[in-house]
Amino acid sequence: MSSALHCFPICDIMPFMKRENDFLKGIRDGIPIGLGYFAVAFSLGFMAKKCGLSPFQGFIGSFFTRASAGEYGVYTMVVQDAGYFAVVAMSLVTNLRYLLMSTALSQKFNPEVPLFTRILTGCCVTDEIFGISIAYPGYLNPAYTFGAFTISTPLWALGTMSGIIAGSVLPDSIVSALSVALYGMFIAIIIPPSKKDKAVGIAVAVSFLLSYVVRRPEISGMLNLNSGAITIILTILISAAAACIKPHDSEAEK
C-alpha cells in the first residue's frame, strides 16, 4: 500500500480516469483521520458545552472550522465574552500554520487546476488532510483531498456534537488509545520520505529534538509561547535551515 503512495507519476496524465478512484482512496485514508477526529472532537464538545454552546452550534462550528486548537481557543473566549476582533486574532494565531500549509500546497497543483478548485481544496486543509495531500505522488489530484474531507469532516462535527450532548467523555482508555491515531498517521507520512531522502530524515530528527526541548515547561514558560506559536516558529526555523544547508531540487521528485 505504501508503494501506491509513492510511485504513480502517470496519474497526472490521466486525471479523469483516476478521479473516482482517487476519491475512494481519499475516503480510505480519511477513515483513520476521522476516527481520531471523533475522539478529539468529543472532548472538544465537552469543553464547548461548558462554554455554553448548543449541540447544533457545536456541529456547525466544527463542520465549517475544523481546527482543534483554534476552536478550543475561540470557545474559551465565548465564556470570557471577548470582543469579535479578539476572536479573529485568536483564530489567526492558533491557525497560522495553515497559512504555511496552504503555501506549500499551492506548489502541489497542476498549473491547469482552476482557482475555484484550489479554493475548495484550501478549505479542506487541516493538519491531517494537508499531511496526506502533500504525500500524494506528483501533482495533487483534488479528488483525493475531497475524499478524505468527505469522510472525516462529518466525524469531526458529530464528535463535537456528541461531546456536547453527552457532556462527559468516552471511557478513558478508549480516548487515550484513539488520541494517538492522528500521530500514527503523521508518523506514516513523515517516515517514508525520511527513509528516501536523508536530508528530510535529519530535519525530522532535529524537529523531534528541538520540539522536545522547547516544549519543556521551563523553556516554553521562559519564552512565554503557547504550543501553536512554538509549532510555527520551529517549522520556519528548521525548514529555513534545512533549505540553506541542503537545497532541494524538486524536479527529482516529480
Binding site: 508503494s3 497559512l99 506548489q107 487515550s176 508518523i187 517516515i191 530535519a203
Partner: protein, 102 residues
C-alpha cells in the same frame, strides 16, 4: 452575554478558512526561487514532526505507552506499512499497554 454565540462561530469560520485560502489565491504559479522551493519542501515534514513529538506522549494517559507507540509506529512505517495500519498499530499499542500501566 452581550455577544452572540452565533456571531462568534461565524467570525471563527470566516477567519479560519480565509487563512487557508489566501495563499492559494495569491500563489497560482510555480515558485521559481530555489530557497523558497526548498523551504516549502521541508515545511510539511518538519511541521508534522514538531506536532507529533512530544505531543504523542502527552496525549495518552501513560507517557510511556505514547512513547512506545511512537517507536513502533516509526518502525512499522519504515518497513513500509501505510497510514491506516500504522495508525491502528499505534492505537492498539496504547490500548494494550495502558491496560497494564495505568
Amino acid at each position: 452575554m452581550t455577544h452572540s454565540i452565533w456571531i462568534y462561530i461565524l467570525v471563527m469560520i470566516l477567519s479560519t478558512n480565509l487563512i487557508r485560502v489566501i495563499p492559494l489565491i495569491l500563489i497560482r504559479g510555480q515558485i521559481s526561487n530555489r530557497f523558497i522551493k526548498s523551504f516549502l519542501y521541508y515545511v510539511p515534514y518538519v511541521t508534522l514532526a514538531v506536532m507529533t513529538f512530544p505531543a504523542i506522549m502527552e496525549a495518552t494517559n501513560s507517557p510511556v505507552a505514547g512513547g512506545i507507540a511512537l517507536v513502533l509506529g516509526i518502525i512499522a512505517a519504515w518497513m513500509g506499512l501505510s497510514l491506516f495500519p500504522v495508525s491502528v498499530l499505534c492505537c492498539m499499542t496504547v490500548l494494550i499497554l495502558e491496560f497494564f500501566l495505568v
